[in-house]
Structure formats: structure tokens, C-alpha cells
Amino acid sequence: MTELEGRLRAAMESAVAGEQPPGHLADLVRRRHRRHVLRAGVAGAASVAAVAVLVPAGMTVLGRFSGTGPAAGHRPAGATVYAEFQAKLTTTVVPVSAATGRPGKPLRFAGAMAVAPNGKTLYLSGAVETIPVSTATNKPGKPIHVGGSLTIDPDGRTAYATVPFGGKITPVNLAAGRPGKPVRVCPIIGMIAFTPDGKTAYVSCPSTGRSTVIPVNTATNAPGKPIRVGPGGSEIAITPDGRTAYVLGVHTVTPVSTATNKPGKPIRVGSPTALIAISPDGKTAYVGAIGAVVPVSTATNVAGKPIPIGAGVPAEQLVFTPDGKTAYVANAEGPTGRVVPISTATGTAGRAVRVGVGALITITPDGKTVYAAVRNQVVPISTATNKPGKPVRLPYGLPVGLVTAP
């Protein structure tokens, strides 16, 4: 060990010696533990006798859950933005009406959010079950006994549920509310993406640097032969015509033909990558990297000139207006979240909108408003002026999820 290594070790030990977690941590854990047991009810860890007692309790919890939606039976015109926050061990989902800019009553449920393609149902997936919530009434439906996060197929009838280290995908019949038999795919699952026709799902397996993508036949749920895509292959974006899946690597993007399931030559994009999104017209794949967004022509698979978004700042999320003329990139400069508009026609970035700590973004279907969820608030940004409007204050902590239901 060099002298620097020894001194670094000593400095780290000295810096945190005697530090204690917050005193209330154990209490918070206990409370959350209890909430999970009550809500899970049939998770299987409890004894049969306990289940008999806990199922009604779980129903009570769900009943309260159903009553927390905004004005049951009333649906404001326009889209609803669902923002998920986490503070301490409590996760809160808040519906915000895009029409009125007002928040509804919070839904308290831990897990991942997914919206059906028709926008009628929000799925809230916890560890052991998924609750379908009507976006018209915010009323929960019958729980589906599958946990993890859902990726919904284009027609909204089925989904695959998975947990990152679970190694399996579970097909779910959403219409029937019934999970199928789990299918083992790979040790660590990064992402699932469906082709537009819904016939194939591509599952990324970024476990060890020798990343692969596995095509899954959605009719049979049978995984196909793994496709080698090089290190870091976690995110997948599929072109609207369904012909090519682009798989993000550490410094590259690999195009994969969905007809042959053969990878093409990796496209170098320079600095470490963070995300990939394809423009609505399918002509350009935008790769979010450190300090820039790099456009890649899907016709030629050649990377274009990087669009600077702030030196050293990684792109975190990217959404397009429906007409594809503007891309909005969320990133963070120090603790301050920013949203950077990019003209896709000129490949230039506009002035960044500073929004606060965090910055997850979503866009309304009419393309008029980008919503940014940041610590304790949701900020609307007009896409006409690129200026922030009056924030919706929500004292629930840091954002962990944000979706729009049309």
C-alpha cells in the first residue's frame, strides 16, 4: 500500500468515526416493516394464521388507499401527472392535474409506476404485488400478485414484471390481472423494451461487462439466443418502425437488427453515456452523455456533433415534444436540477431552466408543458416560452418517479 492509500484510509476512518445514523431510523424501519406486512398480507412469508388475520387488514389499508384519490368520480380535463417522492422510508405518489395545476390527495404506496398505453390505468408495483389504479378516479383495482417493475407491451394487454437482481421476467396478463410463470433470462436484468408490434421484447443483461441483449418471443415467452453488445449494455431504445434496437454501452451505442438479431458495429459517442432516446420520426437516436447529447443518424449509424448541455454534467433524462422539434434534457449542476431545451432541427441547446434539487421530467401528450419533479415540488415549464410556471409544492421529499397519464 502506498503512502497515499494509507493516508486516505486513515482520513476516511477519521472523517466518519463515531458518526451514527439518525436515531429514529429503527422506528422508521419498524413502521415501514409493519406497513409492508399489512399491505402484503399474502406475501407468503407470514404463516397461514397470520394471513387469515392480515388479509382483512390489508384490505383496510387498500380501502384507505382508495379514498385518498382526488375527488372520486371526478376527472379534470387533460392529463394527470403522477409524481412519486421519497422521504425517509415513506414513498408518496401525488396526482397533479395538468388542467388545473392542483395536486390531488396523495396515494401512499411504495414501488414503481407504469401507465397503460391508453392512459386509463396507472400500475403501482411494490415488492410482492401490483395495484392497478384507475386514472379517471384514482381508485385502486384488484391487486395483481406480482412485484417488481412493469414494462407494458404496446397494446396494453400484457406486461413483463421484473426486479433488477431477480434474473427472471414474469409475464402478466393485465386484463385478467393474472401473472404467468416466471422465465429465467439472465442474472441481472437492466431493461426491457418491446418492439412496436409487441411480438418481441428485448431484455438487457448488463451484469459483468460482457453485456448481452436477449430477445424474448412474447407469444411463447421463450428467450432467444443472447446477442453480445459489449460492456455496459443496459438501456435499449427501439426505432418506431421496429427495425433496429439501439443498445447503450459505456462509450458506444450498438445497433441490433430486430430482423436478424445480429449486432452491428458499435458507434462511438465519446464520453460515458447515460441514456438513449429516439426521436418521434425515428430518424435520430439521441445519446445522453457527460456534458453533451450526441445525435446519431439511424439511417447511417453515424454520430453527429455533440450538443453541449453543461460541462461535466451528465444527462439524466430526455423527452421529446410530440412534433419532435424540441428535446428536453434533465441534468444536474451541483445540487441544482436543470432542464435544457434542444432544438432538434439545429442541434443547439437553449437556455437551461433551473428547477431545484432532483429533476425528473415528463411531458404532457399535447406537448405544451414539461413537468419537472424536484425536491418537494413539481414545476411546470411552458414549452412555448421555456419558462417555469408556478410550482406545485408537495412536502414529500425527493422525487423518485414521474409519469403522465393522458
Binding site: 497515499l4 492509500e5 466518519v16 412469508a45 425517509k88 411494490g126 415488492a127 461487462g209 451528465p314
Partner: protein, 172 residues
């Protein structure tokens, strides 16, 4: 061991790791730890049967520190301010100043480099285990450790050269 017992027994140690991973940001460290414990809870049946539940939580902690889902606490590389001179006083106080400087330099590293240095030198994990924790190759771990240490050296040199202080002598 119940989940609550585990939290009470292991959370101080995990919290200290979280503090280093979060660049000494206490609020961010609390968030990180709570996220890791929540995830551990979700799989507690399996995690508690493993040989080392703490290892599982540490894995979640380390990955959460790098995770895009934790974008809210993720920061770009943060160089030390020009005014942040290294220690110049060559007495016992300089040890304290030097450590403080190193910790601030550590906090300014890119998250992944900071994570591998914390796992390697605070948690004493071998490179192979760090690779397993972060889901990358041993070669990547080695290169990240090497780059992280190089950046710490580089961070120390200009100030020490400017001031004639002890940092250059001690770190090189």
C-alpha cells in the same frame, strides 16, 4: 436475525459508508441508507438467509450511490476551489487539515471513482468483490482505483507546490 435487529446492529457501520459515498452530505447519506434498507426489506426472506446480509445492503448502497435513480444526489465532478489550499502548517494540526483536504478531494471525485475508493480503502473489500458489488470487471475496478488515486494526487500537488506545504511530500 430479524430485519429490525439487523438495522439496529449494522446501520451505524453502513451509515458511515454511506456518508463517504455521499461525499459527507449527511442528508444524502441518510437517503442512501434508507433506500438500501428498503430494498433489503423487500427481499428480506432471501437476504436474511444469505451468509452476509450486510454485504447485500452494501451492494445496494454502492450501486444506489451511482444509480441514475439517485440522480437527485448525484453530482458532477467537483474540483476543489482555488481557495481550498492544502495544509501548510507543519505541526500536529496539519494532520487534521491534511485529512480534511483528502476527504474534500474524495468528495469531489466522480461518483464511481469515489465508490471504488470507499469500498477498497474504507470497507477493505478486495478488488474482485468490488467488481462483484458493482457488476463490472476487476480490470475496471483497478482502473477506477488507479484514476481515483491519481486525481487525489493531482488535487494535492498544485496547492502544495504553491504553498510549499507538506501535502506534496506526503502524498507522492
Amino acid at each position: 436475525m430479524s430485519f429490525v435487529e439487523f438495522v439496529e446492529r449494522c446501520s451505524p457501520r453502513l451509515f458511515r459508508t454511506a456518508l463517504l459515498l455521499a461525499g459527507q452530505d449527511r442528508a444524502a447519506a441518510e437517503d442512501l441508507l434508507q433506500l438500501a434498507l428498503e430494498r433489503a426489506y423487500r427481499h428480506w426472506g432471501r437476504v436474511s438467509r444469505s451468509d452476509d446480509p450486510e454485504r447485500y445492503v452494501r451492494r445496494v448502497l454502492a450501486n444506489a450511490a451511482n444509480d441514475r435513480w439517485r440522480r437527485s444526489i448525484r453530482r458532477p465532478e467537483r474540483p476543489l476551489d482555488p481557495g481550498d489550499a492544502g495544509p501548510v502548517v507543519a505541526d500536529q494540526a496539519d494532520t487534521v487539515a491534511e485529512r480534511d483536504y483528502l476527504i474534500r478531494a474524495l468528495a469531489g471525485l466522480p461518483p464511481r471513482q469515489r465508490t471504488v475508493l470507499v469500498l477498497r480503502y474504507y470497507n477493505d473489500l478486495p478488488e474482485a468483490e468490488i467488481a462483484d458489488v458493482l457488476g463490472c470487471s476487476v480490470g475496471t475496478v483497478k482502473s477506477q482505483v488507479s484514476r481515483g488515486l491519481a486525481r487525489l494526487r493531482a488535487a494535492a500537488v498544485p496547492d502544495a507546490e504553491a504553498t510549499g506545504g507538506p501535502m506534496r511530500r506526503r502524498l507522492l
